[in-house]
Amino acid sequence: MSAMKEFTKGLWKENPVLVLLLGMCPTLGVTSSATNGLGMGVATLFVLIGSNVVVSLLRKIVPKKIRIPVYIVVIATFVTIIDLMMQAYAPASLYNALGLFIPLIVVNCVVLGRAEAFASKNSVGKSVFDALGMGLGFTLALVTLGGTREFLAGGSLFEVKLIPGWSTDFMLVTSAPGAFIILGLFLAGMNAMNMRKARIKGEAYKAPANLDCRHCNICDMGE
């Protein structure tokens, strides 16, 4: 039961991109197409699982003072492995498109955030489900965002044109400003939906209480 809860929370209620607003750099940087979003999401998912497992295993023996450096080393190792693996076995076009952003998974807040906020306090099993949920939620958000941008730009999805007559690409949505605009619209849509839900229930909408800056323990050095 609780494992299921750890899994599903990342998909919607605590979606890392659309609710927690973590990992904005890859979110804005690579989501110019659905394929790129998928590649980035899966790469991050792998790193998340790896780092969550190791951090959870180490949680009782790692000294508090150096836990952040240790996490970074763990995450960086997994990222480098992914980078090499993709260079060797992924399609060259995907690796070229994501190239710059793969090493940046090291500093993706989703990964460090889950390590610090969840895996360092929970059992290995729970951490795996947390990583799966968060990773899939991240992937889902990236694919949706990338798909939306790709479709609005030229009427195609996963590089297949769905509307054959659409000949002029609208490059605004695939450019950097477009990333911000579309993400903003997504967030507005999320808020509108949550508010609507609350209104139907007859209560005032409240943002999830533990998801704002005051409750984030990333920066607190644990004294």
Binding site: T168, F170, L172, S175, P177, N191, M195, Y205, K206, A209
Partner: protein
């Protein structure tokens, strides 16, 4: 923010909106009246555009205006707000957008532009008065980034002869390729509302005569561009256009009189207007001389729009008799 209570997102309370300190004077000016006068001032430039580019220019203007009004009313319907089209702001945005387009753009570009201007540039921020950026410019820049090919192909004017279909703006040509007389009357390539310098100056004079804009702003804007491009031209005349060309071509006059001066998005104070004009002028010159786009007016105005709240706060008038505490005074 207080613990556990995040208020529902609301429109700003009108009683709490900051205004510059008094005295305030009540006038008979209303939003529709202002908008009507501005439209009147834009008329010469629009007519010049239609004259030089033919009926397709008229079509672009009408289509932009209609789509802006339709999007405005559609949005009002969607979020159940009272109709606002009668205040004329959507019409004004539509005409300005049309003036910022090439006369030969396809019909759907006008509609997309109307969407970008009204929905993205204005209504998502809360409607007239809440938009930080000039809606027509948001649409123009959005289209320029989104459809660079369409937005940088200029129709030739009718006077250029029937066999020339497209042309470059003089800014994109080699220095000295176009005569000043042609630029004054508007027989050059460019957006349909920006080519005729004389018509734009007449419009600007109307706006200043009716005190709808602060004359300081266009003056500093154009002056700054004149000085900076003048220096560049003096250093290397073969590479850089003369400052006269810089002022008479591209969107500078249109931008300086009609878009930088937008009441909602430009500073309220006089001192602010000086700073705003100076900033726009510097940005425009830098983009034109060394940027990768030939034209920088829209980017520079949007950039300064973003700084407007800060400029307003910096230059707010002090009440009479108010003295800032100096370091020595305790």
């Amino acid at each position: 923010m207080s613990e556990e209570t995040k208020p529902e997102i609301m429109m700003p309370d009108m009683t709490k909106v900051l205004v510059s300190p008094g005295p305030h004077i009540h006038t008979k000016e209303t939003v529709p009246k202002i908008m009507f006068t501005v439209v009147l001032a834009m008329l010469p430039a629009c007519l010049a555009g239609v004259w030089f580019f033919g009926l397709s220019a008229l079509m672009v203007l009408v289509l932009c205006t209609v789509s802006c009004v339709v999007f405005e009313e559609g949005w009002n319907k969607l979020i159940k707000r009272a109709p606002t089209w009668k205040d004329g702001s959507a019409v004004l945005t539509g005409i300005l957008l049309g003036m910022n387009l090439n006369a030969g753009v396809p019909w759907w570009v006008c509609i997309l532009g109307g969407f970008l201007a009204i929905i993205l540039g204005k209504q998502l921020y809360g409607g007239l008065g809440y938009n930080p950026f000039n809606p027509a410019l948001v649409a123009r820049v959005g289209l320029l980034i989104g459809l660079p090919e369409i937005m940088t192909t200029w129709n030739a004017t009718r006077a250029m002869g029937a066999d020339v279909v497209t042309t470059a703006t003089p800014l994109g040509m080699a220095p000295g390729a176009v005569e000043v007389k042609e630029m004054l009357i508007g027989n050059i390539g460019g957006c349909l509302g920006e080519t005729s310098a004389v018509a734009l100056l007449i419009g600007g004079a109307i706006l200043i005569a009716f005190k709808l804009i602060k004359w300081q702003l266009p003056l500093t804007y154009i002056g700054t561009v004149f000085v900076i491009t003048g220096i560049a031209h003096a250093v290397n005349p073969a590479q850089y256009h003369s400052p006269v060309v810089h002022i008479l071509t591209g969107g500078l006059l249109l931008g300086a009189f009609f878009m930088a001066t937008d009441m909602v998005t430009s500073p309220m104070t006089q001192k602010g207007a000086w700073i705003f004009g100076l900033g726009c002028g510097i940005m425009t010159s830098l983009i034109r001389l060394w940027g990768s786009y030939p034209e920088g007016v829209s980017f520079s105005i949007l950039f300064m729009n973003a700084l407007t709240p800060i400029i307003d706060r910096m230059t707010i008038k002090k009440p009479f008799g108010y003295m800032a505490l100096t370091k020595g005074a305790e």
